[in-house]
Assembly symmetry: C2
């Protein structure tokens, strides 16, 4: 039974992302080390014993659509029931509505485990949590009373209805519309596509959060409002009552996440007999301010999609490592201790090229985890400082803002890369579906796309995040990293090899690229800056990975070797990336005609 890497998860959360330090500062009075460890152990057990065995069947059966209904794979309904009964859906929810308020850091950590076991399962609750966040921050008291407790516990699930055929990355093009009714409710009309868990049989009600325009709304993104539209309208007692005018039209046939229904949803098609058309909904937040509410969901969701990436990468590494320890081919010079050659053949893990592949997988995964958890703990710190220390709250909020696009994009790029390498380690067997390695790549491939493509994340990082507080937010992070590197230089034992020098060089590359981009933005050369956005995000992610792994290695000698491998083998990519960021834009502009010419 493959267990999630609970030791690495706990160490990264507590020692690298700084949960221990924050607990020592007294920021999280409800948390203590023993509790953290207990929660993680329990989650790892549930993930491995209950969830993971149902992932393959979920992939094979997929979500099945017929007559507007979606049937989930065998065993998933019971799994979901037991998972929510264990309180896992409520881990970070507000205490007032039954949540445990254990924080985003711990939520991210357990999320990695669910995704390690079955990312298509974990995906559904991710959206429920987004709905909880949006409702908690922006919902009216009336809405909260009806919906929050059920969403926090997981009795009902939530969805995010943003995308329309003509409006994906560009929400300004959104056309779904809302009409005001007399009783402060609204009627919603329109078609939404790619709605994850838009319809299913896991819960008796589904709470859709839907972006739509009012008749008198301004054009563009400043004319979008957010509505809550339940599948069944709650009756007086709060139980699901009459069917609402929202239906699932069809589900997509996808590369991966087969068990996760990706729905086309129709609102207001007059599907409820005896009722006038229009799905009944209630406003969340203010009219025309839906985008801000939506971003409350999105930011959390982006981090949690990053956790999907880390969890898949974990799973791919664990699977590949297990195979490489068993499978014997050829004779390696280096024989693993305790792994004698049998029949003259060595386990393939003993071959340097396979070892490089596995260490690359682990290095990227551990780096991505460190980034994502650092982002999660920054969110918790911002919340903990709250109104008592608004400067610190702002500082940590900006840190979280800065790290969110990196956590989302770097982790999910890593997931695709690591899952692909995982197939490779398995050789021909990796290409056979029964092995399960290919499924991880198929599932991973959506993660760089949804919740804002990784291109959008890179643009967000460059255009909106590095410039926060005039560049001070990013400078503060770099200063923190310099401290780690100073300590590394002081402690520079032989085991670290060239780690210190190479990480210093990487940080210098990142600082130079950051200065260059900030200069472009200041000069109004947005196009030039955006041309380097994707390589910049990779540069950021690799540097962060190397330095945070060094922080971990300074705290635990058992982690020096991997840190050194990353510094000496993966981090050197930063030199080329910096060059691309600071001098690649001109050639991009020059080559652009190749792409638009009618015939080449």
């Amino acid at each position: 039974m493959p267990q999630p890497p609970v030791k690495d998860i706990a160490f990264t959360l507590r020692r690298i992302a700084g949960l221990d330090a924050a607990m020592e500062e007294g920021l999280f009075p409800d948390l203590e080390a023993d509790l953290v460890e207990a929660v993680l152990e329990e989650a790892a057990r549930f993930a491995a014993e209950r969830m993971q065995p149902l992932d393959a069947i979920g992939d094979q059966q997929g979500a099945r659509f017929a007559n507007g209904s979606v049937t989930m794979p065998d065993g998933w309904k019971a799994l979901y029931r037991d998972w929510t009964a264990g309180g896992w859906n409520a881990i970070a929810g507000p205490a007032e509505f039954g949540g445990q308020e254990l924080g985003t850091g711990l939520a991210a950590a357990v999320s990695e485990m669910w995704n390690h076991a079955s990312m298509p399962f974990a995906l559904g609750p991710l959206l429920t949590i987004g709905a909880v966040e949006a409702l908690t921050k922006h919902g009216s008291d009336a809405l909260k009373q009806v919906y929050l407790e059920k969403l926090v516990s997981g009795e009902w699930m939530g969805t995010m209805n943003l995308t329309e055929p003509q409006a994906g990355s560009d929400l300004a093009a959104l056309r779904s519309r809302a009409e005001r009714r007399d009783d402060s409710s609204y009627r919603i009309f329109g078609q939404k596509i790619y709605i994850t868990y838009g319809e299913h049989d896991l819960t008796e009600n589904i709470v859709h959060l839907v972006l739509a325009r009012l008749p008198d709304a301004p054009a563009g993104v400043k004319g979008i409002s957010l509505f809550l539209v339940p599948k069944f309208l709650p009756d007086e007692s709060g139980a699901p009552g009459k069917r609402n005018d929202v239906v699932c039209h069809s589900i997509e046939h996808k590369l991966g996440i087969h068990a996760s229904p990706t729905c086309t949803m129709l609102f207001g098609e007059g599907t409820v007999e005896g009722e006038e058309p229009g799905a009944i909904g209630w406003l969340i937040g203010e009219e025309n301010r839906g985008l801000a509410c939506m971003f409350t969901m999105m930011n959390n969701a982006r981090l949690m999609v990053g956790m999907e990436g880390v969890g898949i990468a974990d799973a791919a590494y664990d699977k590949a490592l297990a195979y490489a320890r068993e499978r014997r081919q050829g004779k390696a010079t280096r024989l693993a201790p305790g792994a004698e050659a049998s029949g003259g053949m060595s386990p393939i893990v003993a071959h340097p090229d396979i070892a490089r592949t596995l260490l690359t997988m682990k290095g990227l995964t551990d780096g991505a985890r460190a980034i994502a958890f650092s982002c999660a703990v920054a969110i918790d710190r911002a919340r903990a400082h709250g109104e008592s220390d608004p400067d610190k709250a702002r500082f940590w909020q900006e840190r979280a803002n800065l790290l969110t696009p990196v956590a989302k994009a770097f982790s999910t790029d890593v997931a695709c890369e690591v899952a692909s390498l995982g197939i490779h380690v398995h050789g021909g067997m990796g290409f056979v579906e029964e092995t399960g390695a290919a499924r991880l790549l198929r599932n991973a491939r959506i993660t760089p796309i949804y919740e804002g493509t990784n291109g959008i994340q890179a643009i967000d990082l460059v255009a909106r995040k590095i410039g926060q507080s005039g560049g001070e937010a990013v400078a503060a992070l770099f200063a923190e990293w310099r401290e780690t590197l100073s300590e590394l230089s002081r402690r520079n034992t032989a085991e670290f090899g060239e780690t210190a020098a190479l990480l210093n060089a990487a940080l210098a590359d990142l600082e130079a690229a950051t200065d260059y981009l900030l200069g472009c933005l200041e000069a109004g050369e947005t196009e030039t800056a955006l041309a380097g956005a994707t390589p910049y995000l990779r540069l950021f992610g690799l540097t962060a990975s190397g330095i945070w792994l060094a922080k971990g290695a300074l705290a635990d000698p058992g982690r020096v070797a991997l840190c050194r491998f990353v510094a000496e083998n993966l981090v050197p990519e930063t030199a080329g990336l910096k060059r691309t960021v600071v001098s690649g834009a001109a050639s991009l502009a020059a080559a652009h005609d190749l792409l638009v010419a009618e015939a080449m």
Copy 2:
């Protein structure tokens, strides 16, 4: 109807890989420019009009197995019939047996087109051609008379039966056995797995080339012999006669290439009623020398798997570019000429990040093509010089040997990378199977694995190829590249930007890494050298791509912009790769314990 990029293909073959120069030297008397162009145009038409439309149905239906038989997808039998009737299977076969002897260069070029249209279709004939090569070079006259004409025309197809459950990359572990019979034939027994096109209904006979051991064979790879085992034993007239004792036991359920049956084959299970068990076969080449014969097939097959990579990458780029020109989202600063914003939205190709993605796809693809075609033309040159000029023949054979692992591994890595980026350009739609972008990634993922994993290719490059003739073969290639770079420096117009400086730096990186590896090998530090094999192959491929694209750009001003983009955006990765090759091995060794420790 998507057309393969016939202009790019013709240009790369003629001007970069040097087919024109070789024709001018009189090396290929049967070829001339008009013929080359005509063949390419005709292949492009067949690929786009006949083959491509059947690829999606092939993926959806897949090869279907029942009762030992495989039924190919609807329309594939007629497609194969028409394709062979057009003479395409015979393009490079020996004239004595009906082949057209147009050379490996042209064969590689048309192969790219078949793979652009339907890689799972093109895969079958790839193996037939391998069988033709092995039989032509090593077969007895008697075998040639019976089999070659039919294999050259494609009337029968061929297979390669190497892998067994315990013997994949390590053929020394092979267990299938052969017994001598009185009449100079043999009886073959054993199980083979992952046999591509091992069973199907495209042709009335299938000719298996099978590796097996004789009872008195030495252990290891020096005890392996190659046998020809037909599905049906030819009768006196040469027509398929009695069934042979070889059956398909099952086919694999795979990530991709669904239409290509991947078979488990059983030899000698006593499946023919009234006959004693044992599949009847005939020796190809000498007893116990099967590996050499097999490598005759393998080398050609490796190059042609490289062409699969190029063809898939092409197709992914074409599809993504077409989508990016149509799909409108957001407002870009740069509006494409002739592509006015509609409804305020720009085609996504106008966004710098999408443009970078597309140019990265095209740059990698064009580079991979230049490498593969250069390898193909080197093979043709070696053959053309033949015995008349053995020094030149050896020179070009060593060039071909050197480039084969790069052509295989770099192209197929690029295929996975480009196909993945192609999905990304499509956004959510890329994850939906109907779009076809995901299919390309699913098909691509096998190409780094089969015909020797890319790890094996990298080891081959480092351990056997760069040391050819004491390093002179690789030095000669670098010298040729220096000439191109000298001309580039002389012609260094503003349009080239920093291309010359960056390509010179890349070549310096490659030379330094090569010297380092040769030094390791000389010092007997094989382990250290092999630790850097995979990054070295990537370094080789990127440098080759940049310099050969520069050669093209010097010949055609329309190609300067892409060359510059590659030099300024992709090639700078070489600095980090060189660093990894020359100083990454120590950390790999230090971290190795992490992989073999029982618990971490």
